[in-house]
């Protein structure tokens, strides 16, 4: 295996584009090294992007936030501005693994690993985040949900990598939240997860909402019907129950060692309801 540690994004793209064998991007490494260790990945080369200065920063841009691909979860948690704007995305990022894993793992890695159970992805999708993809043809921005295409698979072309995530400008009276369910209190993979992002009018009525589910399908799922149902509503008990029903109905989980189809379907609804309540409160809404 070859190890590359380029210091510019262009150099990284050149290495990836010029590689003939299996060449992987190494950001936090918390998925890649586990796969290598478990004999599930045998890359011919890795490209360590942590020495590329521009990928190591969180910067304000057009009122929103750009998070470099080499920024770890702990750094996101330590960034007051990001936390204030997108608490749901930050808490989702911080649910990935232990304190030690937080010192390494990145949301871009979480996205590109393309696990259906990735914690940060439903939160990013709910947030309407964009992934900036760098490649031999230049730069392009795509909605994050378009990056993973199935378990372990992405839409990235040869020589491409995700350079950063952009979280857009936040309207007044907006809030987001992410909840997942795991059997223990820490250290597990999500049995189901749900990200909710919403914006209120001055009376506490919901103007816009996005709901995304994780671990209940082959990839992250945007539940458009849930967003439509929430928009124009106040968050009341009947509505919350309806939200849960819609999300459970949208879920397409499998039964595996982490949960049954029946259970995950139910949990998707419970989490949607609970996440919506938190997001609503963060947006300044008051539940009656």
């Amino acid at each position: 295996m070859d190890y590359h540690a380029p210091t510019t994004l262009d150099a990284a793209v050149d290495i990836l584009a010029g590689a003939s064998g299996d060449c992987r991007v190494l950001a936090g490494g918390t998925d890649l090294l586990v796969r290598m260790r478990s004999d599930m990945a045998h890359p011919d080369a890795v490209v360590d992007i942590k020495r590329i200065a521009s990928l190591r920063t969180i910067t304000e841009e057009d009122g929103g936030w750009r998070i470099g691909a080499a920024v770890c979860g702990a750094e996101m948690g330590e960034h007051a501005g990001l936390r204030a704007a997108w608490p749901g995305v930050v808490e989702a990022a911080q649910l990935i693994g232990s304190t030690q894993v937080q010192g390494r793992a990145t949301i871009v890695g979480n996205l590109c690993n393309a696990s259906p159970a990735a914690d940060s992805v439903p939160a990013m999708v709910a947030a309407g985040a964009l992934a900036r993809i760098a490649g031999p043809e230049g730069i392009r921005d795509v909605p994050v949900e378009e990056v993973p295409t199935g378990p372990g698979k992405t839409s990235l072309g040869h020589g491409e990598l995700v350079a950063s995530i952009f979280l857009p400008d936040r309207a007044e009276r907006s809030g987001d939240a992410y909840l997942r369910f795991i059997p223990r209190t820490e250290m597990d993979i999500a049995v189901a997860g749900c990200g909710v992002s919403l914006t209120l009018d001055e009376d506490g009525g919901i103007i816009r909402a996005r709901v995304a589910l994780g671990a209940v399908g082959p990839g992250v799922m945007v539940v458009a019907e849930a967003g439509r149902m929430l928009a124009g509503s106040h968050l009341r008990e009947g509505g919350l129950q309806q939200l849960a029903t819609i999300c459970s109905a949208a879920a397409r989980p499998i039964t595996d060692k982490r949960g049954t189809e029946h259970y995950r379907t139910h949990i998707a609804g419970v989490l949607a309801r609970r996440a919506a309540v938190i997001a609503y409160a963060r947006a300044g809404g008051t539940l009656e």
Binding site: A5, G29, K50, T99, Q100, R104, E186, M187
Partner: protein, 159 residues
């Protein structure tokens, strides 16, 4: 296969080593630098027995390549005591019997030190969540958490 030459700082000392690209930092510490205090309990980042800090940040050394250590500052359990003087956490772990078999102890001490550097006054819940990635099978965590919280109180008083 040609090996990579890496220069890094471990516990304040400059170290050079040759390693294969696949080798983890844990492999390098244990097998190339003779620092066997960091333990491998899982190799997948689930147990925390290999905890070290890199540029001040707590990580699992099994989840980092040795090659990535170039130019970094690494702290391991071997660097925790200053000469003959134990770190207050080390002293407290002995005094309060916060270890039984001792295999998880180096990782827990490195992680707890990192906690107290960031948060000198953690609540019990904060300490438990910070250390959730450090598995201990002997103690039920009770005496570990008590020792961390008592050390924090002692260090606050001393400062």
């Amino acid at each position: 296969m040609s090996k990579l030459h890496v220069t890094t700082t471990v516990n304040g000392e400059v170290q050079e080593f040759l390693c294969e690209a696949e080798e983890t930092l844990l492999d390098v510490l244990r097998d190339r630098l003779g620092l066997t205090g960091s333990k491998e309990g899982c190799g997948t980042g689930d147990c925390g027995a290999c905890s070290v800090t890199v540029d001040g940040r707590l990580i699992c050394s099994c989840l980092m390549l040795g090659a990535e250590a170039e130019g970094r500052e690494i702290e391991t359990i071997e660097g925790m005591a200053e000469g003959e003087t134990l770190h207050p956490l080390q002293r407290k772990f002995i005094d309060m019997a916060a270890l039984q078999c001792g295999i998880c102890t180096p990782g827990i001490l490195v992680a707890a030190k990192s906690l107290l550097e960031r948060n000198p006054d953690p609540t019990e819940e904060e300490a438990r969540y910070w250390l959730a990635g450090n598995l201990c099978r002997c103690t039920g965590y009770d005496k570990i958490i008590r020792a961390v919280l008592e050390t924090a109180a002692d260090m606050r008083e001393a400062s």
